[in-house]
């Protein structure tokens, strides 16, 4: 709120015509645009739980493990894959990927990084003995060879066009083989050692995580000496800490708070279109949701523009398909999903819908605005004659239902595109045996399976086109919106966020504005 005082000061100064009072105030605002700080402080909504990158996939953890560690490949904010610890990679046979590794890279403890580390690290993720939480990420791999210290050859069970993309996300962080062996898994989690731009300083649970800059980082030392993370669970105090200048950046800025941050003289909002969608996933096994006409009607009855405008203050876009904008094979020619209540009523009649209850099971705050959106959509569905009911469930109950596949109707999901490709999103989640396997369609399954193992991108594109068409007749998900992932920043922080919450802070996307 200090900006109010500043504005008032400016106003009264102008009224009195006292230029002398004006200049210090202006100087202060100008000063706020640059900084001499050597510490970057970031606040997020919760503490980390583990430092070992192979033992967590939660976004609060991976924001930091992607900075302590590097992957072989790296997905930059522009959505493309760039070299990480691998400098180049090639498909040398249909089931063989060869990676050239960066030379001269050292782990934080001084050990050199070699192909043996990369091999051990990748094998660790799915080794039954290591018992990691990312055991399913890299299972297309059959075996790995290391012809020399700078070369890694990965043989896959079937052709895997997306292996380099898989290696860029969680599970792909490279850990040091020798050090890990000497300290054991627990010792490693307590004192992790990576190759990333920061190394561990200290961690006080629920208080702060302190990371020190790695001066010898192969990608160049970041523009700070120290990176500190503070968990601030409540939104209001998190924003207050930013406005007051106690922190330099905050994550998870809700859309309705954006104006407050943007309207402040010293702070701004930076966002990236989320690499994924917010959808109502459908239990298509349960009548009347097993009838595609009913699901088409439900989709037509949702006024998505109103949702985006009213609940998201326009920090989102209306989706047109199950593929997120920004992903491979996104079809830009498709129109946004239509809102047509009359057509919805007709379809319900045609489907012989008899007023059966349709449940929207929602958490409060698991996804931003989930409960508000549920209530809005319940109203829209009631308008066309659907007997919609909202049921609130707790987050861990949701996790349980998710595992048991026991949702009663529709439920919120935020499918993340882990590979910037439909394979890492709709096929990963809706495919046979996937976590949202409530609907099967022989042709769709055939296409999804073929696309996964094809290395011909053009053919894959055609397959995803046909899958999209089938999807839009059957709606195993009812896509609602593709939101922006927003961050609040001090104006002196130059940062381009990554669409997939990865929060890699490197020289290519972060810098302090210096005077």
């Amino acid at each position: 709120m200090s900006q109010v005082t500043r504005r008032e000061l400016l106003k009264s100064a102008a009224a009195l015509g006292t230029a002398a009072a004006l200049s210090p105030a202006l100087a202060r605002t100008a000063q706020a645009q640059t900084t001499q700080k050597k510490e970057l402080i970031v606040a997020q909504s919760g503490d980390i739980s583990k430092l070992d990158p192979h033992f967590s996939t939660s976004s609060n953890d991976i924001r930091w493990s992607f900075n302590l560690f590097d992957n072989l490949t790296s997905r930059h904010p522009d959505g493309k894959l760039y070299p990480g610890l691998a400098t180049e990679w090639k498909l040398t046979a249909p089931t063989t990927w060869t990676f050239k590794l960066r030379s001269g890279v050292k782990f934080h403890n001084g050990d050199p990084f070699t192909s043996a580390d990369a091999k051990a690290s990748i094998e660790r993720t799915y080794s039954p003995d290591a018992k990691t939480m990312v055991a399913t990420v890299l299972t297309t791999i059959d075996h790995i060879e290391t012809p020399d210290a700078g070369t890694l050859v990965i043989h896959t069970k079937k052709p895997d066009p997306l292996l380099p993309a898989r290696l860029a996300f969680y599970g792909g962080q490279i850990v040091p083989e020798k050090y890990l062996k000497s300290v054991g898994a627990e010792g490693f989690n307590a004192k992790p050692v990576g190759t990333g731009p920061v190394k561990l300083g200290s961690w006080t649970k629920d208080d702060k995580l302190v990371l020190e800059a790695n001066d010898a980082y192969w990608g160049g030392k970041p523009d700070f000496d120290r990176l500190t993370m503070r968990p601030i669970p409540e939104t209001a105090p998190r924003i207050a800490a930013l406005l007051k200048g106690e922190v330099d950046a905050i994550t998870q800025l809700p859309a309705d708070q954006g104006e407050r941050v943007a309207g402040n003289a010293t702070t701004r909002v930076a966002g990236a279109l989320y690499a994924g969608l917010y959808v109502l996933a459908v239990n298509s096994k349960r009548p009347p949701l097993d009838n595609p006409l009913v699901k088409q009607a439900l989709s037509l009855a949702v006024d998505r523009e109103a949702v985006v405008k009213e609940l998201w203050r326009n920090r989102g876009i209306v989706p047109s398909q199950p593929i997120a904008k920004g992903d491979n094979h996104f079809d830009a020619s498709l129109p946004p999903l239509a809102y047509n209540p009359n057509a919805a009523r007709d379809l319900l009649k045609k489907a012989n819908y008899k007023g059966e209850e349709i449940f929207i099971e929602t958490t409060v705050g698991y996804l931003t605005n989930d409960k508000q959106m549920s209530e809005a959509i319940q109203g829209m569905w009631k308008d066309v004659g659907v007997n919609a009911k909202v049921e609130v469930i707790e987050y861990s109950v949701r996790a349980q239902k998710n595992r048991e596949k026991s949702f009663k109707g529709v439920f919120w999901s935020d499918p993340t595109s882990t590979l910037a490709d439909p394979d890492g999103m709709m096929w990963r989640l809706l495919g046979p045996g996937g976590p949202q396997d409530y609907w099967r369609h022989a042709r769709w399954d055939e296409l999804g399976n073929n696309a996964r193992f094809s290395v011909d991108e053009k053919a894959r594109g055609e397959m995803y086109k046909e899958m999209t068409k089938i999807f839009l007749e059957n709606f195993p998900w009812i896509p609602i919106l593709q939101p922006y992932e927003d961050y609040g920043l001090q104006k002196y922080v130059e940062f381009t966020p990554n669409p997939n919450q990865q929060f890699e802070i490197r020289r290519f996307n972060f810098k302090f504005k210096r005077a």
């Binding site: 709120m1 200090s2 919760g46 739980s49 583990k50 033992f55 996939t57 039954p128 018992k131 939480m133 990312v134 055991a135 399913t136 990420v137 969680y170 627990e186 989690n189 307590a190 006080t204 649970k205 629920d206 208080d207 702060k208 503070r230 968990p231 601030i232 669970p233 409540e234 209001a236 105090p237 207050a240 800490a241 406005l243 007051k244 106690e246 707790e394 987050y395 861990s396 109950v397 996790a399 349980q400 998710n402 595992r403 990963r428 989640l429 045996g433 996937g434 976590p435």
Partner: protein, 309 residues
């Protein structure tokens, strides 16, 4: 000695039963509430993976077996390993104890130091503007939700006035707003109880006698009144202290204070059974020790409740 044992013995027994009940209830309720494993794994983990992790954590064994192991381990001081943090539960909880005691104690001292004199003054100056203002503020302090009060303090004293940081733990400045927020409720209720207890005593015959004898007013207040009004004040103060130590979840969340309340809530969400059990166990012990202390203070203050020699 026998008298002291007769005084303390039954209390000790009751305390042990209470601790056993609390731990058992927590054990059962936590297991009824759900499974931690889906929260640990990525959403697309196959069932085989879930079964493997369940087996590893010992969650696949029958409940009675799990309970017996749990009870036997507790007797040895072993609360098991945190599912979420992958380290011993006791060491996780220990890391939070310092912050909890720091905040609880400050809030308590603040509350007691402010509330007892205010309640006393209100009673002595009954129905004066001072009394009305003090009790009005106390009513607001008791009625205002902690959440609202905390955010209000941040907006006023942190953002607007720039006196204190918005949250986090560090120097004494970080402690002021959370301690005020946390202490507000206790302060209000201690002040109100003090006022009514003192009022009651002021009506007693011995006070009239003392005054009639011409005893100085301050002696009447401190020696004759406060001492006799002390029992309810000590009771409410002790109970509030217990609450301050164990129930600071909202304050800790608003001010991102790394305390045990927040740890317990987070651990419940994560279904981290061992940490919840350990945190609740320690909180129960603290509460029971406090109750014990109150009982002892009773004995000091009031000869009538002392064990007969």
């Amino acid at each position: 000695m026998r008298g002291v044992l007769g005084f303390l013995g039954p209390k000790l027994l009751r305390a042990l039963v209470a601790i056993w009940l609390v731990t058992t209830v927590v054990f059962v309720v936590m297991r009824l509430s759900g499974d931690p494993v889906p929260l640990l794994l990525p959403p697309d983990a196959p069932t085989s993976e879930i079964l493997r992790v369940r087996r590893e954590l010992g969650l696949d064994r029958p409940l009675p077996v799990q309970y017996l192991t749990f009870a036997a381990n507790i007797l040895r001081g072993d609360f098991g390993r945190s599912i979420h943090f992958r380290e011993p539960a006791i060491s996780v909880v220990k890391g939070y104890l310092g912050a909890t005691v720091e905040l609880g104690l400050t809030a308590f001292v603040l509350a007691a130091l402010v509330a007892v004199p205010i309640g006393l003054l209100s009673a002595i100056r009954r129905n004066t503007p001072l009394d009305h203002v003090a009790m009005g503020v106390a009513l607001v302090g008791q009625a205002a939700p902690t959440f609202f009060l905390g955010i209000l303090f941040i907006l006023l004293f942190s953002l607007k006035a720039d006196l204190f940081p918005t949250g986090g733990r560090g120097e004494w400045k970080n402690l002021v707003l959370p301690a005020l927020t946390l202490g507000a409720f206790a302060m209000a209720s201690i002040a109100r109880v003090t006022r009514s207890a003192v009022l009651e005593v002021l009506r007693a015959d011995y006070i009239r006698t003392a005054r009639a004898k011409g005893v100085a007013e301050w002696i009447v207040v401190v020696k004759h009144t406060l001492r006799n009004a002390a029992l309810p004040i000590v009771t409410i103060t002790g109970l509030q202290f217990g609450t301050l130590l164990g129930g600071a979840v909202v304050t800790e969340t608003v001010f991102s204070w790394p305390g045990i309340g927040r740890l317990a809530i987070q651990s419940i969400y994560n279904r981290d059974y061992p940490v919840v059990q350990c945190a609740v166990f320690l909180s129960a012990i603290m509460f029971i020790v406090l109750n014990f202390a109150i009982d002892l203070v009773y004995g000091l203050l009031d000869p009538r409740v002392r064990p007969k020699a």
